[in-house]
């Protein structure tokens, strides 16, 4: 106790001295004001580290005083990268410091003392996040299937692709007696005719370490050439990290990525990486959504390790990892973790309590790492607590948050749903009858020490998330090919509205093998699974451009807008329909158009053309905001041609 007080005393003295030297009239805040600056509690947080944000960049003297006052370490959370200083300042990343104290110190007292200093605006307990997965993997066992696609149908020669129902679901009853043909991400035709990836697109897997030497991943790993060919022990590229060749291990503060199971690793990061970009058409193993066509054209994976077995997951690590991804070229971060049962009332409360991480996310979103989209795309899992809301940070309004379905094209027993969930993708599900294999889950890569075959099954929204990350990467690849450019918001709008109807199957309940789990009531998911199930082909067609819709002159009519909002457009909530006076005149609109039952009602009175802007909620009934959890706002500009007639199949004649 004496030791603790003396430590605190020294620290306060240090702060006071710094105050005297820097600003003579500085006074400490009272305890109530100080407490208001402390976010989170010590519960579920590191016992030895805190994050503090200064109101303005502290002087070297202040930092030195704190460092000498008994704090074990006091250092900037984010290394500054040459050329990025302005962006770092804009999002306040230059003012975040990580404070580490000796084990056994009273962290609450330290937090209060730090918060008492007027120059510090936030003191944040360094809380833990969890992977959105049960952290259990199951081995791949080659088994005969009742219905299998032929290799020629699938296009690639990866032998395990035939067991990846998530890409091409033929309704194989050995996977699940309730398996649903077409319940997949509809990627086959995109692979065969449009694109299978692009090596200039980098997806950062913020997770456990990725097995970068795995034979089915190695060719698609991002490689920091400056470090690989540079001097050992030196930060050759000046990005603030030494010897970071494939990414960085933010848990241990080293470039050595752990993934081999020696520290209770589960292979979670390697599994997610395989979904995104296992090498396609290489004659071994599985396929990845954006893994290329076997011609060194796969999307690259950067490993940003924030978990190491049972360790890691701290805010500090996550925040650093996200900035690292931005600074080193990632266009997408795939984040299969979150705060389970977070229970935040809206984005404001989450942002206040997790400010370092949110600042890093905003920095990533503001970083342009390709010529296609003007910012970084953030994709999270919704969480696995079967909760009627998405976990944060995925629930943040500007983040794409992914729920999970199984091979039966129905919600899984674990998936979160409701506000904050934007779209649904395959996450896999165990225990579906006949439960004679693990094939209802998601098959992907695993570290060889965890599964000697290098492949195995996992389930979770953790697995759903990388599907959408891979599809986003395919979208970037195809847009690059076509020379298209988008704002970040436009790209996210297209992505989450590229969805198929999911609600029409949500009747009754589903059962599990031998009642291992209670029947799952499907009605509760109605209108709560975002915009519907993600569809790769629809997304690619949106990137090509959505054709004008035809309206008939002289008739009050409805128009199907599923080309713009997906086939679940009937289930979406629409916020407004806007048309300029000029376009109103061009179409001769006697009254304002409106949306009802997912259709656009319009009454043009003359031949012409115009554009109509429709705003909708991408997941849920309200847009998420500071004080509520909700969906992402989607705006689509619909081009209309009015003619005196139209054919029922869209043909011009």
């Amino acid at each position: 106790m004496i030791k603790k007080l003396s430590f605190l005393g020294l620290m306060v003295a240090g702060l006071a001295l710094a105050s005297c030297q820097e600003t003579l009239n500085e006074e400490s805040l009272n305890a109530i004001d100080a407490r208001s600056k402390i976010v989170h509690t010590r519960s579920g947080a590191s016992a030895t580290s805190l994050l503090v944000k200064f109101s303005s960049e502290p002087s070297e003297t202040q930092i030195q005083m704190l460092a000498e006052a008994g704090v074990k370490s006091f250092e900037k959370v984010f290394p500054s990268v040459p050329g990025k200083e302005e962006l770092e300042k804009r999002f306040g990343l230059d003012r975040w410091y990580s404070v580490t104290i000796e084990e056994g110190r009273d962290i609450e007292a330290v937090a209060l003392e730090l918060a008492s200093d007027k120059r510090i605006s936030t003191v944040e307990y360094d809380i833990y996040m969890e992977p959105a997965c049960d952290r259990v993997s199951y081995p791949y066992e080659g088994q005969e299937a009742a219905t299998r696609a032929s290799m020629s149908e699938l296009g690639f020669n990866d032998p395990l692709l035939i067991d990846q129902w998530n890409y091409y679901n033929l309704g194989d009853k050995s996977v699940a007696t309730s398996a649903y043909e077409g319940g997949d991400i509809n990627v086959k035709d995109t692979w065969n005719t449009l694109t299978a990836g692009d090596p200039s697109i980098i997806v950062a897997v913020v997770d456990e370490g990725v097995a970068y030497s795995h034979p089915d991943l190695a060719p698609n790993m991002w490689v920091n050439e400056a470090e690989r060919s540079g001097a050992a022990g030196k930060d050759d590229d000046g990005n603030g990290y030494v010897d970071d060749i494939y990414g960085y291990n933010f848990v241990d503060g080293t470039a050595e990525i752990n993934f081999d199971g020696t520290d209770y690793d589960t292979g979670h990061g390697t599994h997610c990486a395989g979904v995104i970009s296992a090498v396609n058409n290489n004659g071994i193993g599985v396929s990845g959504v954006a893994g290329g066509s076997g011609k060194n054209d796969g999307t690259k994976i950067m490993t940003c390790q924030i978990f190491s077995g049972n360790g890691g997951g701290l805010q500090t690590m996550i925040s650093k990892a996200i900035k690292y991804a931005a600074d080193n070229g990632a266009s997408i971060i795939s984040c299969s973790f979150g705060q389970p049962g977070s229970g935040f009332q809206g984005d404001a409360s989450y942002t206040k309590k997790n400010a370092a991480e949110v600042d890093a996310i905003r920095y990533f979103e503001a970083t342009k790492n390709n010529d296609i989209v003007d910012g970084g795309i953030v994709i999270f899992a919704t969480g696995n607590e079967a909760a009627p809301y998405a976990s944060y940070p995925g629930a943040l309004n500007d983040i794409v948050s992914v729920s999970a379905f199984g091979p039966d094209y129905l919600p899984t027993h674990y998936t979160n749903y409701g506000p904050g969930c934007n779209v649904v993708a395959p996450g896999g599900e165990a225990y579906l009858p006949p439960w004679t294999s693990y094939k209802g889950m998601i098959l992907s890569t695993l570290p060889l020490k965890i599964e000697p075959s290098g492949y195995g099954y996992m389930q979770g929204t953790s697995m759903a998330c990388p599907h959408v990350s891979g599809i986003a990467a395919l979208g970037l690849a195809y847009a690059k090919k076509l020379g298209k450019k988008y704002t970040l918001q436009e790209f996210k709008n297209m992505l989450i509205s590229s969805a198929n109807d999911f609600d029409s199957r949500l009747n009754g309940s589903k059962s599990y093998y031998n009642k291992i789990k209670p029947d799952l009531n499907l009605g509760k998911f109605m209108k709560k699974m975002g915009t519907g199930s993600i569809d790769t082909w629809i997304f690619m067609m949106k990137i090509e451009g959505v054709p004008c819709l035809i309206a008939e002159t002289g008739r009050n009519q409805w128009i199907d807008v599923s080309d713009y909002f997906g086939t679940s457009s009937v289930n979406l909530t629409y916020l407004s329909v806007e048309v300029s006076d000029e376009d109103k005149a061009a179409l001769g609109l006697a009254e304002d158009p409106y949306m009802q039952y997912g259709r656009l009602y319009i009454h043009p009175t003359k031949m012409g053309a115009g554009k109509i802007k429709v705003r909708a909620v991408g997941g849920g009934e309200i847009v998420g905001g500071a004080d509520n959890v909700g969906g992402m706002e989607m705006t689509q500009e619909i081009s209309i041609i009015s003619r005196s007639f139209k054919s029922s199949n869209g043909g011009w004649l």
């Binding site: 451009g545 031949m607 041609i641 003619r643 005196s644 054919s647 029922s648 199949n649 011009w652």
Partner: protein, 133 residues
């Protein structure tokens, strides 16, 4: 020799005249056509262009490629029939065309006026349909 040519030409005219007396000349609208005009309107809509190509084949089948604004060309096919100057058709999915058309040829262009209201006229010029649509 000159006289013989004139006689042959006159005979041809007379023969043609005889045919005309038996009924209207059947229009030959087979061939490949490209939409170049909507009445007097441009086929440019804002920053988007409408592209329509049709191939009316001699066996009364057709192929149609259309790109309405953005996106890829979408292909349709089916059958067509010309009764005097009225053109009708059906898509291969069994759907009728949205309208029948009154057609004529004018300086090599195919003029199609929809019959539903009679107010919209589409002009097509002969073309070679680009490959790879």
């Amino acid at each position: 020799m000159k006289a013989r040519i004139i006689i042959a030409a006159l005979a041809a005219l007379l023969l043609t005249g005889c045919e005309n007396n038996k009924g209207p000349v059947a229009l030959d609208i087979t061939g490949q056509w490209e939409l170049i005009g909507l009445e007097t309107k441009s086929i440019q809509i804002g920053d988007q262009t409408i592209e329509v190509y049709m191939d009316l084949k001699a066996d009364n089948t057709f192929e149609l490629w259309q790109k309405l604004g953005e996106g890829r060309h979408r292909k349709y096919s089916g059958t067509w029939a010309l009764t005097e100057t009225t053109l009708t058709g059906k898509y291969s999915d069994g759907k009728e065309w949205g309208s029948a058309y009154e057609v004529s040829l004018n300086e090599g262009n195919l003029i199609m006026t929809e019959t539903k209201t009679g107010t919209e006229t589409y002009t097509y010029k002969t073309c070679v349909i680009p490959s790879g649509l």
